[in-house]
């Protein structure tokens, strides 16, 4: 092709442009193009191409049936490298195959309807830079008219907006992230705009602070929602908005009352001006951090510290806390200040300044050691000399220096706790002293003493007397278990006694306990009085046994001799007694047999005398006298024998006692003596006599004898009166008769007869004792002896009181039931 001609054919608009695309159009071999060679092109095409090539704005042109492509230099950058360029003269469909489905219909629509189509930021991805790229366009498809006035092509004005779109996209995403950040922030964030404080941005964290959701707040005026705090916060917010000065609030208390709830807490708040891009302030951004928990824990920590201080202060034992290597007193309670004899002014001062007297007592060194090494120091019963009330005094303490560590694990101070054990120590010293005294006392005691320690009864202390008693050299036995030292003392019952004292803490004493001991090679039995006492420490724990022994062997031996003699004598006496009893029995038996057998012949003498008398004719006076004497003698003998018989029977086996009513006994006796009483005009008075446990026959004999005597020993010309009465016996009376029972009847039989002299009062109870001549008074002299025997057999007694010529009183004492 010739250039000149070409120039002509393209027209000046194309020819005169020196751009790349103009050159390409010129160089292109159009002969094979459906458009034909440029000389055949319509004017309108050439004109349009001229416009495109000269425009600095990207243009593209599809022309003709085949939509042959043209574009200008400004369009080039949008095609990238390694892409579609150069596409001049190619068919549209071939150049944009990947998007032809989209732009093909558009082009046809525009060319058919003649109406332009515009797109803003439309994604139209196509191949460039070696790949399909997402490319955004703002473009306009408008119809291009041919020479004939028909639409011959589609004119594309476009600008690539990929960068802009992507920037916006990034901005949007960043905005989204920002919103999301705000939304998800744990710090409450709210942006308020305008004077009315409208909620522009808000997150849930903020919503929670005031009991709302973010949605409920968004777009509303904040103080419509929480009017209760408007008075406090609104002026602050306004101030920030107007001045641009931020406000910071720390641990700020707040109270919100949404509905019927109450939300209380503490906030850290930052109010910052909310600026537009131009720097103008349109609102306030508030960042609110709920620090309620922190405030509470701080408060709690403060409370704890206060509590700790109060615990320390009120502790009953001394506590001090010293800080720094120099030991500055941080804390000291009343108790430790009392120990020091100081006041509260010690706080903040140096330990060494307060207690200079400790300088040579190792205390400062101990404190320093604890501080530098971090190891606690403990002391027990440590003597510490302190100046208290301006006097140096001796104290004893249990004390501890404990290192105090900070959070980094470094020692920052020392805690000093102490217990004043001065009193205890003094007491202990006293105990030790008294213990020493006690041991000395044992050693010097005038009785044998020892202390046996522990479950083995080790001989701890033993004085000379007990060593002599044991009969062993002291060096062989001291500090040995007692039964090792004295094997000869084993198995004599001492082990059990010692165990009992040691284990049960009981004192045991024994009198005259025989103990066999090998004393200086000789086996001897010694008799000991001893006391085993538990030996206790000050707390009452049993340490061992204190044994005190007294050798009573001589006394026991002497007494044994006496006892032997007494035993012999007792034996002899028993034998004598037994033979006496035997002979007494024999005597009684004899008396019974004798009297019984004697009775018979006398009875017969009496009976035959009567028979003789009645058989004889009338006797002369003398013969009658002899017969009478025989009769009298024989009846008297019978009476004697009968009384002896009765008396002897009292010694033998008695009947069982029964309840006897003495009133009935006397009544029977009264009947027996009826005739005699009538003869003598005698009176017998008795009443209120007791019922007692007695043998009925004996009671009859006793009172029968007494009444018989009363009727016998009467005064001439005096009518006899016998009075029997009873009362409870007086104690003194019982004592005088040597009666020991509780309760006795004192029965008296009183008459107005001849009586007897006081000196005969006891005599009359002797057997066969007669005071009066037989001639005047009949009787055997056995009656009162029998009465006494009966009374005594009934564990009672009888005695008499009288004055001669004035009657007699017999006193009978018999046990009451």
């Amino acid at each position: 092709m010739e250039l000149n001609r070409d120039i002509n054919v393209f027209g000046s608009a194309v020819m005169q442009h020196d751009g790349e695309m103009a050159e390409l159009i010129r160089q292109y071999d159009w002969s094979k193009s459906p458009l034909g060679t440029p000389d055949t092109w319509p004017i309108s095409l050439k004109t349009t191409l001229g416009l495109i090539l000269h425009s600095a704005f990207p243009h593209f042109l599809f022309w003709g049936e085949e939509l042959i492509c043209f574009y200008n230099d400004a369009f080039l950058p949008s095609l990238g490298t390694n892409g579609k360029h150069p596409s001049i003269g190619k068919k549209g469909k071939e150049v944009w195959p990947e998007i032809w489905d989209f732009i093909g219909p558009l082009i046809h629509q525009v060319m058919k309807s003649g109406k332009p189509v515009q797109f803003n930021d439309q994604l139209v991805p196509f191949y460039r830079n070696g790949k399909i790229e997402d490319i955004y366009w703002t473009f306009c498809y408008s119809p291009a008219y041919g020479d004939d006035g028909n639409i011959s092509g589609c004119f594309v004005t476009c600008t690539e907006t990929t960068t802009k779109v992507q920037t916006i996209k990034k901005l949007t995403e960043s905005e989204k992230r920002f919103q999301s950040l705000i939304r998800e922030a744990t710090v409450g964030i709210v942006v308020l705009t305008g004077e009315e404080m409208k909620v522009e941005i808000v997150n849930d964290a903020y919503g929670r602070l005031i009991g709302k959701t973010a949605e409920e707040l968004l777009g509303r005026e904040l103080f419509d929602v929480i009017p209760e705090v408007a008075y406090e916060f609104k002026p602050m917010l306004n101030n920030v908005r107007l001045t641009g000065e931020p406000v910071y609030l720390y641990h700020h208390p707040y109270t919100i009352k949404p509905g019927d709830k109450t939300i209380e807490g503490y906030l850290n708040v930052v109010y910052q001006p909310y600026r537009e891009e131009d720097g103008s302030i349109t609102g306030v951004m508030a960042l609110c951090h709920d620090v309620t928990v922190q405030v509470a824990s701080v408060k709690k920590a403060a409370d704890t510290e206060q509590l700790l201080r109060s615990v320390v202060e009120s502790a009953p034992f001394p506590i001090g806390v010293y800080t720094g290597k120099e030991m500055r007193i941080l804390l000291a309670n009343r108790s430790i200040m009392d120990v020091w004899g100081k006041g509260y002014d010690v706080i903040g001062k140096l330990y060494s300044d307060i207690l200079p007297e400790l300088s040579n007592q190792q205390i400062f060194q101990q404190l320093d050691g604890v501080y530098t090494q971090g190891i606690p120091f403990h002391a027990r019963n440590q003597r510490v000399d302190l100046i208290v009330d301006e006097k140096l005094k001796i104290y004893y303490f249990n004390y501890s220096f404990t290192p105090l560590f900070d959070t980094d694990g470094n020692v920052f101070g020392v805690m000093n706790t102490a217990a004043d054990v001065t009193d205890l120590n003094l007491a202990k010293q006293q105990v030790e002293q008294s213990e020493k005294n006690f041991r000395n006392m044992i050693l010097q005691a005038p009785v044998a003493m020892c202390i046996l320690l522990g479950p083995d009864h080790v001989i701890e202390v033993a004085n000379q007397l007990i060593i002599e008693l044991w009969g062993k050299p002291a060096e062989d036995i001291m500090h040995k278990p007692v039964f090792d030292a004295l094997p000869d003392a084993r198995e004599q019952g001492l082990e059990a006694l010692l165990e009992k004292v040691y284990n049960e803490g009981e004192s045991i004493h024994a009198d005259e306990m025989p103990v066999s001991l090998l004393r200086f090679g000789k086996l001897e039995t010694v008799y000991l009085n001893f006391v085993y006492d538990p030996y206790r420490d000050a707390e009452g724990n049993i340490l061992g046994i204190l044994a005190i022994a007294h050798d009573v062997t001589p006394q026991v031996m002497a007494r044994h001799q006496i006892e032997d003699v007494v035993a012999d004598r007792t034996k002899e006496l028993a034998a004598a007694n037994s033979s006496l009893e035997k002979s007494n029995e024999e005597l009684a038996q004899f008396a019974y047999i004798a009297s019984h057998d004697l009775q018979e012949p006398v009875r017969k003498v009496s009976v035959f005398t009567q028979m003789l008398e009645s058989n004889l004719p009338a006797l002369d006076e003398r013969s009658q006298h002899y017969v009478d004497r025989i009769k009298l003698a024989s009846s008297r003998m019978l009476a004697l024998i009968r009384d002896v018989l009765s008396y002897s029977q009292l010694s033998g086996k008695a009947d069982e006692p029964v309840n006897v009513d003495l009133n009935l006994v006397i009544r029977d006796i009264e009947n027996d003596f009826e005739l005699l009483m009538q003869q003598k005009h005698a009176k017998l008075e008795y009443h209120g006599l007791p019922t007692l446990s007695a043998i009925p026959l004996h009671m009859s004999q006793l009172f029968g004898n007494l009444i018989s005597n009363a009727l016998k020993f009467t005064r001439k010309q005096v009518e006899p009166i016998i009075i029997i009465s009873s009362e409870l016996a007086d104690r003194n009376l019982l004592a005088s008769r040597e009666l020991s029972g509780e309760s006795y009847h004192h029965i008296t039989v009183n008459d107005n007869g001849i009586g007897f002299s006081e000196e005969d009062a006891e005599k009359i109870f002797n057997i066969f004792q007669r005071l009066n001549g037989k001639r005047d008074f009949e009787g055997t002299g056995i009656g009162l002896a029998m009465c006494r025997k009966i009374a005594q057999n009934h564990k009672g007694d009888i005695f008499a009181t009288s004055k001669e010529g004035e009657g007699a009183t017999f006193h009978i004492l018999l046990p009451a039931q």
Binding site: H596, V602, R603, V607, F608, Q610, M611, S635, D655
Partner: protein, 129 residues
């Protein structure tokens, strides 16, 4: 029933005599058999050689004593109906009650006054009649 035959058992001849004298004073028509040996007396009674209406019995006798005799006669069916009155020197209450328990009709202590014995016998015979 009228008492016609009396048996007196007593080893003491004096008392045998005193008894017969006293009985004669009460009723001379009564036949009296006197035996000194209770064992013999029991034999005679058992063989019906003697058949007394009333027996007076001493207690203290050699051989069979009065208590033994009383016990035996009261066990014999053909003899137990014969009343026995003890006439002894004893006046011991226990003896008296024991004898009465064993079946003795009565118990008399031998009196020291002759007339007392006569009165005693009178009473005994009256009681039986």
């Amino acid at each position: 029933m009228s008492i016609r035959k009396i048996l007196h058992i007593d080893d003491d001849e004096d008392d045998q005599e005193i008894f017969s004298s006293a009985l004669a004073k009460v009723d001379e028509t009564i036949a009296l058999t006197v035996m000194a040996n209770a064992g013999n007396a029991l034999q005679e009674l058992s063989s019906n050689k003697i058949e007394p209406d009333l027996i007076f019995l001493d207690l203290n006798m050699p051989g069979m004593n009065g208590q033994e005799f009383l016990q035996k006669i009261k066990r014999k069916e053909n003899l137990q109906h014969i009343p026995v009155i003890v006439l002894s020197t004893s006046s011991h209450a226990a003896t008296i009650s024991l004898m009465k328990e064993m079946g003795a009709k009565d118990f008399f202590t031998k009196p020291e006054v002759f007339d007392d014995l006569v009165i005693m016998l009178k009473k005994a015979l009256n009681d039986q009649n």
